[in-house]
Symmetry: D2
Subunit: 164 residues, 4 copies
């Protein structure tokens, strides 16, 4: 999860590396679906991996608005309420660039839903705020974020991972 047009170049670089490493580890990579910023970067990283599977969950009504890098486009037509869908559909949530209010809402919703949350290279204010709300972990690199995700992901239930 992360900002679109307002993403910093560092957020974009981190998101692309995260998407690639997550896909290599066999995760389905799900983003907010738009062809911008962290969303596009994470999908682009994931699609470098053969056999990867990517999902974009859009705020708007038109699946055609999804990044072409999303194998599956979900159009919710629900604006920011799609953030809830993103969070509930994920086994682990990584917030990449907590500088924006949309990403902050997803981080908070992840904690509310009891999902493992990783803050990837957060601002000092975000790193001080979210761990007070629930089980938030901080990672400084994409590799560390994926490592935490591997450790924290739910063991029970059907396997949610695909062999890459």
């Amino acid at each position: 999860m992360g900002p679109g047009e307002k993403a910093s170049s560092r957020d974009v670089r981190l998101a692309e590396e995260l998407g690639e490493l997550a896909a290599r580890a066999g995760w389905i990579v799900l983003t907010g679906g738009r062809d911008a910023g962290v969303m596009r970067a994470a999908l682009r990283g994931a699609k470098r991996v053969e056999g990867s599977l990517t999902v974009g969950v859009l705020p708007g009504r038109d699946p055609g608005d999804a990044s072409p890098l999303a194998d599956v486009a979900i159009a919710t037509g629900m604006g920011e309420a799609r953030n809830v869908v993103n969070v509930l559909s994920s086994d682990v949530v990584v917030a990449c660039g907590t500088g924006g209010p949309g990403t902050a809402s997803e981080a908070a919703l992840a904690l509310k839903a009891g999902k493992p949350l990783v803050l990837l290279a957060p601002s000092p204010e975000a790193a001080a705020f979210f761990p007070g709300l629930g089980a938030a972990r901080v990672a400084e690199t994409a590799a560390a974020a994926v490592e935490i995700a591997e450790r924290e992901r739910p063991r029970r239930g059907r396997p949610r991972r695909r062999a890459p």
Copy 2:
């Protein structure tokens, strides 16, 4: 789209054939995601096809509730409001078994959203009702439903199909 536990054996048979034929034609097969009735049958038919891609959009909060036949599980946590997500995410909606109110709502929402709607082997009452609301077509076989879908699917925009 179609009922879960209350699906008739004919609905289930039709849904399974529809899922298989749609996947063979290169469509992503999206259902309401639960492991029951028409939803499970359409996914099962699709997963018989190598390289197929299946999506389940659930009413509940737990992606683990999805049929294991769904490659991608979307957990909306929004109850019947997920019917809107199903419809908006689809290029063509096929209502299989319009005997239940959930499926009827999806058929109506498809027409409201301007999506092509195919009624597969509908009741006489459904066949008389829906075409008065918008561009609903009736098919008596799964093959005819896929044929209509091929003809009616939006041409513009990025390709939504995958090579099987």
Copy 3:
């Protein structure tokens, strides 16, 4: 529940009478909130009654889009998914003008949610279709619709009515 701009003049006349009679009987009158068609007419009828309380649940993001006749404006930002909110928030659903797909979705969602549904002066096709899906009743006049609503409304729980 009923259409906006596409409402017939008969639908509008019936909705206005329904809103007035419902408010007089002490009901809170809830509509889709827009300042058009059946929605506006039902609110207008209700606001003729002193002490009435009206609610508009909007598809869009701006509460300022609500009819000025709605005492309370709820902005969902969820498009047609607000139809689910309308239905769940109601003790009894009256579909006024089932000629449109939006109203048809609300009627189907009402039956799915187990809410009492009254079809007010429906088309013959609607009158033949909906009762096959669940507990739908047909009324030919606004007075008959309110009478059915009084009889069918849930008895348990806190009083949902206000003294007019």
Copy 4:
């Protein structure tokens, strides 16, 4: 907006005072609707004022779950996605007790939607975090929160206030 069962006694006291002062100033008081914590306290404060109007927007499907202090109960059936409805329906959002993830999501969603946000007696971490995301103001008393709300509320559009 604020926590339910986990609200501190200070949060509850502040919320009750806020509800009363807001209603006295002519505001409709809208909360998350449940009969607990900050939600109940704000409604209780408001209902001390004659002619006040209170609204509860619930996460669940049953309007009967609303606090009896809510004049209007909206049942969304959408879980935490109802937080989006709360925020969009409000002219000004006051976060009372930002210690919990649900309230934090509402504060973030308010900033994302461009709504004026007042943090009432926030934790130091919240007071450091949210103003970096958008137009968040901090108030240490309920009276100060209402004063900011009066100043920041949208001037355009139809009057959203009722004479008490």
